[in-house]
Amino acid sequence: MSNSQPIEVLFFASLCEQTGRDSATLDASLAATVADVWQQLCPTLDMPVNTLMAVNQINAKADSAVAGGDEVAFFPPVTGG
């Protein structure tokens, strides 16, 4: 992945409503980790403690690395079934 591409960011379910958007893009130079992505996009909103994260559709953690072209997702605990 190249830092010339932005990071694609997705918010699902209650996090979509809490952040006020379902998607965003972020200049990759502004974030090294998943936590950085949240902080850049939602500077006035603490990430809810039970938030789940994925990078390129694989489960990730707040300190997981991100790079340009990555798809980063934030979502609440799942409730399917």
């Binding site: 997705l10 699902f12 379910a13 209650s14 409503e17 789940l52 994925a54 559709q57 997702a73 979502f75 609440p76 605990p77 799942v78 409730t79 399917g80 079934g81």
Partner: protein, 145 residues
Amino acid sequence: MPTIISDAPLTAWQALAEHGKPHAASCGAAVSFVGVMRDSNNGRKIDKMFLEHYPGMTDQALADLATAAKAEYDIADVLLLHRVGEVRPGDELVVIGVWSPHRAAAFSACEWLIEQLKHRVPLWKKEFGPDGENWVVANTPGRVK
């Protein structure tokens, strides 16, 4: 091992009947779980729900679950269907079918699949009722294993 996300109504029993046919003479046991939308939850009336998912990741998570179940248990096949989008009471939300030569593995795999699905697959329910709307925040517990 088909795993399908659908925004169209499921026809659970018909799908189970069709899918099991090739296994009839080799699998002595078919265990299934069908999850249906109820018209109330914790005493509150529910008129409809919206089932949100993460396209791509949800499909992969279901496929991974079916593969993991087959690796973990002595089973021949899995059918895994999940509804998304707007649903009404009585609508089928999830269908899990497991075919195995013997019943012990079929029960184990079916129950494992629904518990894993409820805790790992990116799906979220929003309820709409006379009291307003709300995201479901936690699953009803399964059996303690």
